[in-house]
């Protein structure tokens, strides 16, 4: 809800003109009435209407400036005849009226050109720019006519007024990293894969990774869904990255790195968040040292995500791209509290991106880490991946504790239970299959639908195909051991009992249904927590209730000046793309902080936050101008019998034909939003 003077946003017509302020009807939408801490907005104008927050707005100038933004922001457009000329004509005609030289016929021309743009433009930006302009012309006709008939300037024509605009799209808005999705898809469609990759890397350096293992929240906000099925957005991202790698090109960076400016930043952790922060800081001319505790770079995507899902040679390309920007990596280095103290003087700022690397307990009876066969998911995946990707052998202490017959994770003939339901647990069970286990069972509290929602359809079905058993509505009650060797699990069964009051259904244990099943291993993969022992105690960093580092979620500075945090150690275990988005924002804030000591957001970032609140995607919108019923492409995967015995990449990616067909389905839903502040 926001307080408005006038609004046509999404078809609501709120007209408080002439009413006393206390009687103003409110808008149903989260419009950016307050621009930032110290500025109110006067107006908001965008693809689906216009809202005025004050009486004093020069609506002709507002319309003209919006048309001007279309010209200004044409790096995204100017690529079709109606948009290219139409946009200019809109602006010229509005300016003519605003400066007091307009004619009545100009209004007709504006409407005519507006209509042509609405029905024939290449992308939504061209189709929607006329919308609020025509709204203003209709609802403020008197104001326009006054300027035309009296040949006078619009009321604030010559004043300096701040107009702040941002290009967005439903998918980019839903992407935590604000990736220019229509941009990279256009690169695929035009077979300009370098452009595609650069579009991605503007805000997301991990194109190989997020072209493969991103849970793609964007696809839930794809406007194509309103027509038929969402675009396969994620899979199209790897086309650019694969192109660069396959042809052995130097890295396509979307920006020239700025000359070194003498500032230094330390980054703790070389996972997705650390890599991202390092990339954009280095691009900005900052010297960056990244400290990584493990002997290898890449964080959980390296030691957590298995080879068959994220081949190391591909991820290495992403990492090398970051290094190529001029980032310095220090591996095998566990940062201590003393070092953190010292970093405060030796660096201009520090970004903590240490992730969440402690597997949480399943909370059952007799759950004791010393039981052999009880094996935390993070540690389990570490040893699997270090061996598969780097040939690093599992140390004898772990071999002994986990009863391994050899120097790597070999589960031949063993039975494995995993408790989880998220991506990590899927990685565990599928790795266990590949390690030769004879029976692998996922124990999950909720149902199939939920596990698919929490992971992906493909991930779940591929696991089933590979032979993983799923026991739904169940939980481990007790571990049964003999002399500290795991022997069996007591598993409780639950049923979902609907709340008679219409609330959330409750899981209720079915008494007497529990069973005891023999297992050699229990691998808890319920969640992870952050290991933050390296933080100096006297800093007393503020923590969240989940024991992660607290920031305001906008600038990513912790309660201590100059110490920033992003990724899982800030948010709790979440997605790669979330870590990337946070780290990029944090890096942007840091790049100003190290010069000014101030914490600020750019207009682009402020607008990004406003639009996320407003939500760009509208699942109820009726899409016109596109033929429905063109099916989404699916990439083929390796044959089950073949893939379950090795670590070859399961998803083969799109063929070129599939990629082009899929890219052609993209409707280029760019929009411009603008605030008068």
């Amino acid at each position: 809800m926001s307080k408005v003077y006038f609004s046509t946003w999404k078809g609501e017509l709120i007209n408080n003109i002439g009413k006393p302020e206390e009687e103003w009807e409110e808008s149903a939408y989260n419009l950016p009435a307050q621009y930032d801490d110290h500025r109110d907005s006067k107006a908001f104008i965008g693809w689906d209407g216009v809202a005025l927050f004050a009486e004093d707005v020069d609506v002709i100038r507002l319309a003209m400036e919006y048309a001007a933004q279309y010209q200004e922001y044409s790096e995204a457009c100017g690529r079709c005849a109606p948009g290219r000329w139409g946009g200019r004509i809109l602006y010229d005609q509005l300016d003519k009226i605003a400066r007091g030289e307009g004619a009545v016929a100009d209004l007709d021309h504006l409407k005519e050109i507006g209509k042509s743009m609405q029905v024939t433009s290449k992308c939504e930006i061209g189709k929607t720019v006329p919308n609020p302009i025509i709204d203003l012309m209709v609802h403020f006709e008197d104001t326009f006519m006054d300027c035309i008939e009296n040949q006078k300037e619009s009321k604030h024509y010559k004043e300096s007024i701040g107009y702040i605009a941002k290009i967005t799209s439903p998918c980019s808005d839903a992407c935590p990293a604000d990736v220019d999705i229509p941009g990279y898809i256009e690169g695929v469609r035009d077979l300009r894969f370098d452009d595609s990759l650069e579009a991605t890397r503007q805000t997301m350096p991990l194109a190989h990774v997020c072209g493969r293992v991103c849970p793609h929240p964007c696809e839930d906000a794809c406007r194509r869904t309103n027509l038929d099925e969402p675009i396969s957005i994620m899979a199209l991202k790897r086309l650019g990255a694969d192109w660069e790698t396959d042809h052995g090109f130097d890295f396509f960076h979307p920006m020239e790195p700025k000359p070194k400016n003498g500032k230094k930043v330390a980054v703790i952790g070389a996972g997705p968040a650390g890599l991202t922060a390092a990339y954009y800081l280095a691009a900005d001319g900052v010297e960056v040292d990244v400290y990584e505790a493990l002997p290898v770079l890449g964080g959980e995507v390296t030691v957590g995500v298995p080879e068959y899902r994220m081949p190391w040679d591909k991820y290495l390309q992403d990492i090398e791209c970051v290094r190529d920007m001029g980032v310095n990596f220090i591996v095998n280095h566990n940062v201590s509290a003393d070092e953190m103290r010292e970093f405060e003087t030796s660096y201009d700022a520090t970004m903590i991106a240490s992730g969440t690397r402690i597997s949480k307990a399943v909370r059952c009876a007799n759950e004791r880490p010393e039981i052999q066969g009880y094996w935390g998911a993070i540690d389990f995946l570490d040893w699997v991946n270090l061996y598969e990707k780097f040939d690093i052998k599992t140390p004898e202490s772990v071999q002994n504790q986990q009863m391994l017959p050899t120097d790597h994770v070999d589960l031949t003939g063993k039975t494995v239970a995993c408790v989880g339901g998220g991506f990590t647990s899927m990685d565990v069970v599928r790795c266990a299959i590949r390690a030769g286990a004879k029976r692998v069972v996922m124990i999950y509290r909720r149902d199939e639908k939920t596990i698919i929602r929490n992971t992906t359809y493909e991930e779940y079905h591929e696991a089933v195909e590979e032979g993983v058993e799923f026991i739904f509505h169940s939980a481990v009650n007790e571990i049964i051991d003999e002399d500290n060797v795991l022997k069996a699990l007591v598993i409780d069964k639950f049923e979902l009992v609907p709340d008679p009051d219409g609330g959330r259904a409750q899981l209720v244990k079915i008494e007497g249904a529990s069973e005891t099943i023999d297992f050699d291993y229990l691998i808890p993969a319920v969640s992870q927590s952050a290991d933050l022992g390296f933080l100096p105690e006297e800093w007393e960093l503020e923590m969240t209730s989940w024991a992660t580092i607290k920031t305001n979620g906008k600038d990513y500075m912790t309660s201590r000046k100059g110490i920033f945090a992003s990724g899982d150690c800030e948010y709790g275990p979440m997605t790669i793309v979330n870590a990337v988005g946070q780290a990029r924002r944090g890096a942007s804030v840091m790049s100003r902080y190290i010069h000014t000591g101030e914490i600020t957001l750019t207009d682009e970032e402020i607008m990004e936050d406003h639009l996320k609140k407003l939500k760009v995607y509208d699942k109820k919108e009726k899409v016109t101008g596109w033929l429905p019923g063109i099916p989404r492409e699916h990439s083929s995967v390796l044959d089950t019998a073949f893939r379950k015995t090795n670590n070859a990449e399961v998803n083969l990616g799109f063929t070129q034909e599939q990629a082009m067909s899929e890219a052609d389905r993209c409707m280029r839903c760019y929009y411009i939003a603008m605030v008068q502040a």
């Binding site: 279309y70 010209q71 200004e72 044409s74 790096e75 995204a76 457009c77 100017g78 690529r79 079709c80 005849a81 109606p82 948009g83 290219r84 000329w85 139409g86 946009g87 200019r88 004509i89 010229d92 016929a105 021309h109 005519e112 050109i113 042509s116 029905v119 024939t120 433009s121 290449k122 469609r189 035009d190 077979l191 300009r192 396959d246 042809h247 052995g248 090109f249 009726k622 016109t624 101008g625 596109w626 033929l627 429905p628 019923g629 063109i630 083969l652 063929t655 070129q656 034909e657 990629a659 082009m660 067909s661 052609d664």
Partner: protein
């Protein structure tokens, strides 16, 4: 498993193959949908929006160029509303378009003019502030942004078909413009395809600029005379009013850009006609010389009919015929035939375009045969083809096409072929003897000496696993290899036992034709009459010949292209002197016209008995190539066995490689005005150090029996120890392997 979609366009039942768009189906069914930016050979530019159509039950207009139809949908291509929007789009295109049709090169063949008239745009109610825009001079190409309608055809062909990827759209709404990509000025191979596809006068040839109006030019359809790709083109000629020395001249070359492409040599290198006058005494001397000759040495830059006459002269006069280029090609193909059981290779440029897996060996193809390069670019972009480029020297031009550069040591082609055959035939149904042959290969030795590792071969197996349309391309490097025959046999094995089709790139425009027409003798360097080649008496179409004969753009005749297609050449400019046929007539080999021999070409080689005048020379409106005819396949005995792979030769010390700069092929391209003639020896920093020559230094290179003077140019894009020595300005012995140990000394 192609899925057919049935739907209706304007009430007519039509069918679409998988991947076809509404516009493509409309065109295939002769239903007109206007476009300004569509070009058949690229992905849709989708910028003009003229091709919007209505779909039954769908709100708004649907873009037909990039939308595949859905089952049962009913499409309307025209009605009042669509017409209105198309008119408005034309009005927008016309906003501030300079009213200078009177002096614009494009006038008369301009899409903007045509469509403005078609949509009857007589007045304009839209206006915008005009902007001052500067004409860019990019060497052979000029760009006028004021005329540009930003259709993006040029950027699409440059990237998707040519592969230069040298121009880009600079986005800027109304100020959008075309710019050189990542460069101050245009840095490309100057194919001029951007000029060809430009629908307006924005991209033009700086040579042609202001010289003629489109409607004044006569068009002569022919085949390009510079390489074996057999590109179709039209010479555009005009009678000259103010240049009294010549009655007519070629003003420019155009191509059917909608479906085919042309390189810069074909487009800009058109002025190689022989302007010498008729000389009766020279003619008599030529007849005398031939009567007393023991041999005729000739080049492959002649027609099949000329070759046929030479063959008849051989039979009549008992002379030997020397043409090492065609002889070696012919021997290569004979060896191929001895295993494959047929005369002609199976692949074609079209097969390359449609491929998703290509291996090319023994060719610096971007310069050897631009047509092959463009076909590979198309395959790379449109099919995501995996392309293995096996050659001793990396080519920066090919980086955005090639997915695997396989560097082998100069001279190692036979070994590399054996390794490739062993890899590709791993699962083939070979005979016991053939199996044993491959089992007995000393892979370790071959890998070590050729420098092609087992991992590289494994990479091919891995990356080709998903591919379905595969082509093996062999270049002209191998023809003069000591073990060319075994290379040919190994290639034939691959073609025979796998789903690879095979393309062999003939060196010159009619190398293939000559090899099929003539019975050639090994050149023993003895005295011979030269026919378009060096000799004691030279009959030729280049300046300085003892008797002038017409060049390939001055005569009718046919050539055989890389596709094994017999293609007609036509008379763009008349020639006033004598022809080989006149000489033959004087020597008792009698026919009225040279092209009377067209239907008599050797059917045992696959030629058809078709008269020249019955040969078509155009592409139909759907882009089907109906030029000339394809050679008939000829079966032969396949009795040969593979030879043992010889020890691989070593090329130590200073090595040069005979390779021309882009757009240069031979003395003809060397004689034309517009093409750059860079005769420098180009080498890497490593070469510079090894040969002790520095950038800009004048040197003398001695190879074989020849010594040439060159200036050395350090080329940052080159690597390794082999330098590139052009041959277009000198004649080199075609029987010499293209990699040569040589001596380089500073010129004094």
């Amino acid at each position: 498993m192609s899925k057919i979609v049935n739907f209706k366009i304007d009430g007519k039942d039509v069918k679409a193959q998988k991947g076809e768009t509404i516009l493509q189906v409309a065109r295939a069914n002769d239903i007109y949908i206007p476009t300004m930016c569509y070009i058949s050979k690229t992905t849709p530019c989708a910028s003009c929006r003229m091709c919007v159509v209505e779909a039954e039950g769908v709100d708004g207009f649907v873009l037909s160029c990039n939308t595949p139809p859905t089952e049962g949908i009913e499409i309307t291509t025209n009605n009042v509303e669509l017409e209105q929007e198309r008119v408005n789009i034309m009005k927008l295109y016309d906003v501030n378009h300079p009213l200078e049709c009177g002096v614009c090169d494009k006038s008369g063949e301009c899409d903007l003019q045509n469509k403005t008239l078609e949509f009857n745009v007589g007045q304009q109610n839209f206006s915008a502030k005009d902007q001052a825009r500067k004409i860019e001079n990019w060497g052979m190409i000029n760009y006028d942004p004021a005329l540009c309608i930003m259709c993006e055809k040029c950027t699409h062909v440059c990237n998707e078909v040519i592969g230069d990827d040298a121009i880009d759209v600079k986005f800027g709404g109304y100020g959008s413009t075309i710019i050189p990509k990542n460069a101050e000025t245009l840095d490309c191979t100057f194919c001029g395809e951007c000029i060809a596809v430009c629908p307006v006068g924005a991209l033009i040839s700086s040579d042609f600029k202001y010289t003629a109006n489109a409607w004044e030019l006569s068009r002569v359809p022919s085949t390009c005379a510079h390489c074996s790709a057999g590109c179709s083109l039209e010479y555009e000629t005009k009678h000259i009013g103010d240049r009294s020395s010549q009655a007519e001249s070629i003003y420019r070359v155009k191509n059917n850009f909608e479906f085919t492409s042309l390189c810069g040599a074909g487009r800009f290198g058109f002025d190689f006609a022989n302007v010498a006058k008729s000389d009766a005494s020279a003619f008599n001397s030529a007849v005398d010389a031939l009567q007393n000759a023991k041999a005729i040495r000739f080049s492959s830059i002649i027609t099949n009919e000329e070759a046929h006459i030479l063959q008849l002269l051989k039979e009549k006069l008992g002379v030997k015929l020397f043409n090492e280029d065609a002889r070696l090609y012919g021997e290569f193909m004979s060896a191929y035939a001895s295993v494959s059981g047929k005369l002609h290779h199976s692949g074609s440029l079209d097969a390359i375009k449609q491929a998703d897996a290509i291996i090319i060996l023994g060719s610096r193809v971007a310069t050897d045969n631009p047509g092959v390069r463009y076909a590979m670019t198309t395959a790379s972009r449109h099919n995501g083809a995996k392309i293995v480029y096996a050659h001793p020297i990396e080519d920066a031009l090919m980086q955005n096409i090639v997915t695997q550069f396989m560097k082998y040591e100069a001279g190692a082609e036979e070994g590399v072929m054996a390794l490739l055959a062993n890899t590709l035939l791993a699962n083939a149904d070979l005979s016991e003897a053939e199996k044993k042959y491959f089992d007995d290969l000393d892979l370790g030795y071959l890998e070590a000496e050729s420098n092609v590792g087992a991992d590289e071969l494994a990479t091919i197996t891995r990356t080709f696993a998903r591919t379905q349309k595969r082509v093996f391309v062999i270049g002209s490097d191998v023809f003069a290899h000591a073990n060319a025959a075994n290379i040919a046999k190994l290639a034939a094995m691959i073609e025979k036992y796998t789903d690879f089709s095979l393309v062999v790139i003939p060196e010159n425009v009619n190398t293939a034709g000559v090899s099929l027409v003539c019975d050639l003798d090994a050149d023993d360097s003895s005295e011979a009459i030269g026919y378009n080649a060096a000799g004691t008496f030279v009959i030729g179409s280049l300046e300085g010949a003892d008797l002038a004969v017409p060049a390939l753009n001055q005569q009718e005749g046919t050539v055989v292209s890389i596709d094994n297609r017999v293609l007609p050449l036509n008379v763009a400019l008349s020639f006033e002197g004598y022809t080989l046929n006149d000489i033959a007539n004087a020597l008792g080999v009698v026919k009225e016209n040279t092209v009377d021999y067209t239907k008599e070409l050797n059917t045992a080689s696959g030629f058809k008995s078709v008269a020249f005048d019955d040969l078509e020379n155009f592409l139909d409106k759907y882009g089907n190539d109906v030029r000339g005819y394809l050679l008939d396949e000829v079966s032969c005995e396949a009795t040969a066995t593979l030879d043992e792979v010889s020890d691989l030769p070593e090329f130590n010390g200073v090595v040069i490689y005979h390779s021309n700069p882009v757009l240069q092929f031979n003395n003809y391209t060397n004689s034309v005005e517009q093409l750059e003639k860079d005769t420098t020896l180009r080498g890497s920093a490593q070469f510079s150090a090894a040969a002790r020559v520095s950038d800009g230094e004048e040197i003398e290179i001695t190879f074989g029996k020849q010594t040439v003077k060159r200036v050395f140019k350090l080329d940052e894009e080159l690597k390794g120890t082999v330098a590139l020595n052009p041959t277009f300005d000198i004649s080199v012995d075609a029987s010499e392997y293209k990699f040569l140990k040589s001596k380089i000394v500073r010129a004094i």
